[in-house]
Symmetry: C2
Subunit: 422 residues, 2 copies
């Protein structure tokens, strides 16, 4: 391995290249992010901001040379002195995996953007920032294993999650949902755990559809151990995804940190079974905070494994939707005109059926020069996350358009009489 360039040499070289290839996925950038993914636990607002502000290559240089702030250096600790970046990249390659970085085309940038926005609202003082378990921080990179392109499979995806101690009913419903969603061209994303997660993955695989398991350990590890065959099938047809480098252990705290990736990568989350006061409420609130639709499958009121689902459905503030099958799911998360089987029958002007927030955002859009989502939020008097959620809807309805300067009203359609052949 001595013939290979050292990390620090690579970073020096990367810095030289950076001027010419700003924001591109050069080998130095990939190696830098491989190193960063092991240097600090994912989920830290301060660490992510440090990398975002300096760029990955310079971030590595500063950490290696002790020029980062005390707070940032403390987040890496002794790991700053170690380097397994090349081994990790090779180990990934050996198991059919690769490190996806934000600089890649394949990076699911538009989906993960909600995390960037949410993180931008975190306070400056690290002591007041959200704890790692719940902080809405974007990933520094994603180790992915499997033949699928992450941006493509995540584009039309839904998370199906739930209890590990599931009932036969819950597993049946999760498998059925996974299968039906797979048949309709939707990717099922879940956590690869026992119970509901596994049933949902299996249902999707049975429909020959790609499915994505977002893990809390390295993509070369099998946890739970009994899921060897399942992970093997997922890695053949879909993707195993992890923020942690190959070999990383499934430490308990990592599962909560991992959950934000499941929420962000999908258009919505379906909770199939959940016990009373389980993490379901937290999962729902987080998904909702990221602008994602939360859906819940009800069950018998006599089943302890449905109590958490019913708690969610009784919480009017969460805005969750009851779903009984894949049709309901697609109805809740499908894009206008693309996925919905039954378009509204009556002739509608496009504004009809828009939510209150969507109308306010639409009214905030200027006619001529485009503006940023942040400015739209100020004018519309709503949250910037709301703006980001409704803009795609407005765009698909041909009501707004994106210009280099930002968003503005789309020009009105030409009247039908003027486009006739006469």
């Amino acid at each position: 391995m001595s013939a290979l360039p050292s990390l620090d040499e690579d970073m020096e070289q990367g810095l030289v290249e950076a001027g010419a290839h700003d924001g591109q996925a050069t080998p130095a950038v990939r190696r830098a992010r491989a190193w960063l993914s092991r240097a600090a636990e994912p989920g830290s607002v301060a660490f992510w901001r440090f990398v975002a502000d300096t760029g990955p290559v310079e971030a590595v240089r500063r950490l290696r040379s002790g020029r980062a702030s005390d707070a940032v250096r403390a987040l890496a600790g002794v790991r700053a002195e170690q380097d397994a970046s090349l081994e990790d990249l090779l180990r990934a390659e050996r198991c059919g995996a690769r490190l996806l970085v934000p600089e890649d085309d394949e990076w699911p940038a538009s989906l993960l953007h909600c995390l960037t926005v949410a993180t931008s609202e975190e306070p400056d003082d690290p002591r007041h920032q959200s704890k790692r378990a719940i902080a809405p921080v974007p990933p520094l990179g994603l180790w992915v294993r499997g033949p699928a392109r992450l941006d493509e499979v995540a584009d039309r995806s839904v998370a199906v999650v739930g209890a590990r101690a599931s009932t036969a009913y819950g597993e049946h419903v999760a498998a059925e949902l996974g299968h039906q969603l797979g048949e309709r061209g939707w990717t099922v994303v879940s956590g690869g755990a026992f119970g509901i997660d596994a049933a949902a993955h299996r249902g999707a695989l049975a429909a020959d559809a790609p499915t994505v398991a977002v893990l809390a350990c390295g993509v070369d590890r099998v946890y739970p151990a009994a899921h060897g065959a399942l992970f093997h099938r997922i890695a053949e047809a879909g993707l195993l995804v992890s923020e942690w480098p190959p070999g990383a252990a499934p430490l308990k705290h990592r599962f909560l940190v991992r959950n934000r990736i499941i929420a962000a990568l999908t258009r919505g989350t379906v909770v199939v079974e959940a016990a009373a006061r389980s993490g379901a409420q937290a999962t729902a609130r987080r998904a909702q905070k990221l602008g994602r639709q939360v859906m819940v499958v009800p069950g018998p009121v006599t089943s302890a494994m449905s109590v958490g689902c019913h708690e969610l459905l009784r919480d009017a503030e969460l805005g969750v939707v009851l779903v009984a099958d894949a049709t309901h799911v697609v109805e809740a998360v499908g894009r206008l005109g693309e996925d919905l089987a039954d378009p509204p029958e009556r002739p509608t002007i496009p504004r009809d059926g828009l939510s209150d927030v969507a109308v306010r955002v639409l009214d905030a859009c200027p006619v001529r020069t485009g503006v940023s989502p942040e400015r739209l939020a100020r004018v519309a008097g709503c949250h910037v996350l709301d703006v980001l959620r409704v803009l795609p809807v407005l765009e698909l309805a041909d009501l707004v358009e994106r210009t280099e300067a930002g968003w503005r009203l789309a020009p009105p359609p030409e009247p039908a009489t003027a486009t006739g052949r006469g």
Copy 2:
């Protein structure tokens, strides 16, 4: 029977008394309403208005002498020439029943008032009025059989209804709900039918609680025939109630007409099981229109008998609440401070926790001279039904009070320091 006064003699006498006993439950008024309950099918807006405008005694005289309008006479038809009023009253007496009339103290006037209000919004032209099956018309009288006082048992009551072709799951939940509600001092009202209705009644009876079956036939008849023992037990501990006179047959159309009484007599309706596109949606809409809370018990998404329940829960416009047990039901319909087990912990000023409509109605209340609910609705800019729904809440929170002239703000409570012993 020749020694008894004829109907027409009784009515002449009743008219003389009416001046002295305006709006009182004289024997003539009771006989008049007994006759009217057989003379025309309940549920007609035009017929109810005719009786309300002329009074029951004069209504009978006009129908008997052919002086009613053609439209009203057509609603009675040949029944105007017949008279079984005394026989009906005697037949009721023989089975332990009696005819309750709006002039009685026991009449559940405040509960049924919602029907009067809803009917007042029906158009004048009978051709444009709601059809009998759905018209929100108050009853002209109620035949009741059993030891309980209707106004008392209906005061804290909840309807528990659902499919006749219920599953073991649904029956279990209905019985459990009936039992739990009974134990908490709530009256279960239902329709006495197979399936969910019967399970709910039985659950209440098992808790030694009164239960009310509102029938679509005479209170001396048993339909379905297998419910002889059940009806007997209900008539011993609660009430059988019907708009139709003794002996009346359970004609199919009468069940829908009957349903409005179940909705109006209760603070809310719980739907336990319902098939797809069953009458559950209509039941929910009607109850909601009358200002009543609609509650729904979910079930397995794999059960056809829960599909209608899930349809209701998916309909955001209906504002239904998911309930899994009696605690949830009481939470949804309980009066402020009276039924709720856990009062809010933080110190609240009474306005806290009021709905938007309640705040607007409160703000519309004058300080000095009381005004009508209709006037409050105009000032508050809401529906008069909303006003009628929130006034009891505001009254129980000591925020408003009823005077002879109508509703006004309650005087502020004396400061605690002024009421001390010193």
